[in-house]
Symmetry: C2
Subunit: 109 residues, 2 copies
């Protein structure tokens, strides 16, 4: 395997995770799951989309390895598989803060 090929698969794996987090509904879900595990029915209410749509978003998160499931009777509870999302969210907040400052600078100066 060439170095370039290796590099590509390296970034592909990482980009897949970022991509899974790149949708507002999925971000909302992940954020809610930081508190506690939540069933699909409750997540569907939270997101406010069709149940089938939410189910698809959940499967995207699951395929990325971000969440895991637990069965309890007819219900399925989703929970975060990783606790490290703070770093991710902090990074995003930092970018948004910088963007805001830039906008203010453009208006003010």
């Amino acid at each position: 395997m060439t170095m370039k090929t290796k590099k590509i698969s390296f970034y592909e794996r990482r980009a897949a995770i970022a991509k899974a987090l790149g949708h507002p509904s999925r971000l909302m879900i992940v954020d809610a799951l930081q508190e506690r595990e939540i069933c699909v029915c409750e997540l569907t209410e939270l997101v406010g989309a069709d149940q089938s749509t939410v189910s698809r978003h959940l499967s995207v998160l699951k395929n990325a390895g971000l969440v895991d499931t637990r069965k309890e009777g007819p219900m399925i509870f989703y929970r975060l598989r990783v606790k490290c999302l703070e770093g991710f969210f902090m990074c995003i907040e930092n970018v948004l803060k910088e963007n805001l400052e830039r906008e203010e600078a453009l208006v003010g100066g």
Copy 2:
């Protein structure tokens, strides 16, 4: 504005940033820019795609507020606008590590 609308735009802004990082070429670019500012011609070589394709990726990163540009003669240098990407990458690595452990557990037992 209702609470739900507010929440949506909250997550939309954050998801847009994650989405901008959700492509292997863009991740490769951002990673390279952690070292130093780089011109489009060099980034084009690095990524190994058409110059127009790389230019589009760069505009995605710029629109997300992740990078900024500096003109020098006919060249345009791109540089990171934020230094916080460590937290982002650490989070990704953490997820990948967890995923690897899960795969090993599935094989092993």
